[in-house]
């Protein structure tokens, strides 16, 4: 099948239509079930964040149906070094749910499983999907059920997905951990503002989220036997809009120490950052955002040389950075109270040669000369 869109992309690649970065696939005629059934199918095994399943940056084939399977896991989770316990709800067992990667024009086919061991109905709303409350209207599953949803990846970018089972259940499930991200790459990969190809050597995926853990009369965090037990108290804290924890990847320190992210000098890293519920402002201390899709949507040219970027609650963004200097980099939510006191800090350990031209301690600290 050779579409007008592909013809245009071919022309763009040849430089004929350089300013036209993408042609929305949604403009093409709908494919029939028979045509979709004729597409190749590929199965993806998801991996836990901050890692991302193997994927092509530039698609080597035409559109395909990409199959994903995600169990929903309700489980207690430790969210800080004091052992504070969250009655967690997760896609695939992790907070955030895993990053799914497809290309524009692919079909995402998700099998969502709500095992019998769970206690609540759940569903999934993909911000990348069109219609049906992002899929939420078609995916509500009770414990012991599963559902299969297919949607077409019509827009490129990083997009949040989250559970949205209705009413006050929506924010509660989201702040209990039920959110994740899908990245839909242009078939010909990422591009800078001139339409020139950009590529990454590594990709890391950070899901930021905030928790609202109730406290007892002495100010200590409460532990609950079940999700149901925790609900009323948690809702009260949520409505105060003052989180007790603001963390990356489900727990304070989830991306520091032995779990710090790694890179080498000279490597280009794509950092995908999502926040399903609340605004945040990532900042790489000692580094920059070389190219940042702050709103996460690759049809827009990336901003360049950013110091801090803004991720709106309910969205995911992407930042591309080439490390130029070795060391320990803190990657933080640059509300530094949230970073340091509430937990929104990750680290990169970057190895390689030091560049004196970029930075040098000309004189070590010492007493102030008297004259």
């Amino acid at each position: 099948m050779f579409t007008r869109r592909q013809a245009l992309l071919g022309a763009a690649a040849a430089g004929v239509l350089a300013p036209v970065l993408t042609m929305p696939a949604r403009a093409t005629a709908p494919a029939s079930e028979a045509e979709i059934a004729a597409l190749p199918r590929r199965k993806v095994t998801l991996v836990a964040p901050p890692f991302v399943h193997a994927h092509e940056q530039v698609a080597s084939t035409g559109p395909a149906v990409i199959e994903f399977t995600m169990p929903i896991v309700e489980k207690p989770m430790v969210i800080d070094e004091d052992g504070t316990m969250l009655q967690g709800m997760t896609f695939n067992g992790s907070i955030p749910g895993p990053l799914m990667v497809v290309h524009e024009g692919d079909y995402v086919e998700l099998t969502l499983i709500n095992p019998e061991t769970n206690t609540m109905p759940h569903n999934i709303d993909f911000h990348a999907a069109t219609g049906g409350l992002g899929g939420g209207a078609l995916t509500l599953v009770n414990p012991g059920e599963q559902v299969k949803l297919r949607f077409k990846a019509t827009r490129t970018g990083t997009f949040v997905y989250h559970c949205a089972p209705g009413g006050p259940m929506i924010p509660w499930h989201v702040v209990s951990g039920m959110h994740g991200t899908i990245m839909i790459l242009p078939r010909d990969g990422l591009k800078n503002e001139k339409g020139e190809a950009l590529a990454y050597d590594r990709i890391y995926y950070i899901g930021e989220n905030e928790f609202y853990i109730p406290r007892d009369a002495d100010g200590n965090f409460k532990t609950y036997e079940s999700h149901g037990d925790s609900y009323a108290d948690t809702l009260e804290v949520m409505k105060g809009l003052v989180p007790t924890h603001v963390v990356f990847n489900g727990a304070k320190g989830a991306l520091t120490g032995d779990n710090a992210m790694t890179a080498n000098v000279g490597e280009t890293v794509l950092i995908v950052h999502s926040q399903a519920n609340r605004d945040t402002r990532p900042h790489l201390i000692g580094g920059h955002g070389d190219y940042v899709w702050e709103q996460g949507k690759f049809a827009n040219p990336p901003a360049k040389d950013l110091e801090t970027w803004f991720i709106r609650g309910g969205s995911a963004g992407a930042a591309l950075y080439t490390f130029r200097q070795p060391g320990i980099y803190a990657y933080v939510n640059h509300n530094l109270i949230e970073a340091v006191e509430l937990g929104a800090t990750a680290h990169f350990v970057v190895e390689g040669d030091w560049n004196d031209d970029l930075m040098k301690q000309v004189e070590a600290p010492g007493p102030i000369p008297l004259n």
């Binding site: 350990v349 190895e351 070590a364 600290p365 010492g366």
Partner: protein
């Protein structure tokens, strides 16, 4: 010989000034107060990693190991207890500690250096005895085989690449992490060391009187070219050495070089061994022979 390394004058001043006071005002103590059990520490020597930060050839250098000699002293066998600290609070001389209230005989925790210093002054006053916070040197001697000192390894980092040292330290820090265990244990829980000193190296780090210094070593590393003293930051000894601002009461918020930050901050006090009558009279009648008087 850089004076910092033995800090002879300052050390002698700390030792001798309170003595002079006790000679001048004998018998002012509250005789009804139950005495804290003490451990007699004989005059001792040890190889001691100097606390603080060291630079050599404009690069961070490992803490120099020096031979120290410490005169005999007495140290509380156990850390100051919550109940004992409460007496100081009741007397209006100490601020209430940030510690959970309990009837158990636990050490006081949630105290800053300022709190510990206030307690030492109050306790010296009510007992009429020269109680004070130990120096880091005294703490090391008393901790004996439990003394940990610096937590970082000494390695030849690449002088052209500061990141090598940063990354090595970061990995050591990560490797030394363990789950926090902040619940105060009854005094004596961690048992005595070879000198009979109890609980050192448990989950309470102990404030010392020693200030945080940044020292520029000479190129040989044997002496110092300069030093900046910051007494707004003091040394704590425990499972590993820590440096914290004097107002910090929660070890986890105070910053820590390596490993799990101190779960709790507490202290114990030392007292100088009463010198012979001859020495006391000499100090009284010939103060110019007293290094403290010259300082």
């Amino acid at each position: 010989m850089p004076t910092r390394f033995l800090d002879a004058a300052a050390f002698a001043a700390a030792v001798l000034l309170p003595l002079a006071a006790s000679v001048l005002s004998p018998g002012s103590g509250d005789q009804t107060r139950a005495a804290e059990a003490v451990v007699q520490v004989p005059a001792s020597e040890m190889d001691f990693p100097l606390p603080g930060e060291f630079l050599r050839n404009s690069r961070p250098a490992p803490s120099p190991m020096v031979r120290i000699e410490v005169p005999s002293f007495e140290i509380m066998r156990r850390q100051v207890g919550l109940a004992a600290y409460g007496e100081c609070v009741a007397a209006g001389a100490c601020e209430a500690a940030d510690a959970p209230q309990t009837e158990a005989d636990v050490p006081v925790t949630g105290v800053s250096w300022i709190d510990a210093d206030a307690y030492a002054r109050w306790y010296a006053g009510v007992t009429g005895e020269p109680w004070r916070l130990p120096t880091a040197e005294e703490m090391a001697i008393a901790a004996a085989e439990r003394f940990a000192g610096e937590a970082f390894s000494v390695a030849a980092d690449d002088p052209a690449n500061p990141a090598v040292g940063w990354i090595r330290r970061y990995r050591e820090e990560a490797g030394a992490r363990r789950p926090p265990d902040p619940a105060p244990r009854p005094r004596g829980h961690y048992g005595p060391n070879s000198l009979g000193l109890e609980d050192f190296g448990g989950n309470v780090w102990e404030w010392t009187a020693t200030c945080y210094d940044r020292t520029t070593l000479d190129p040989t590393g044997e002496g110092a070219e300069g030093m900046t003293r910051n007494c707004g930051v003091r040394v704590l000894e425990g499972r590993h050495r820590a440096f914290m601002s004097t107002f910090i009461r929660d070890g986890r918020s105070g910053g820590c070089a390596v490993g799990t930050p101190p779960e709790n901050l507490g202290f114990r006090l030392v007292r100088d061994v009463r010198p012979s009558l001859v020495a006391r009279l000499r100090a009284f009648f010939f103060p110019q022979s007293d290094p403290a008087a010259r300082a």
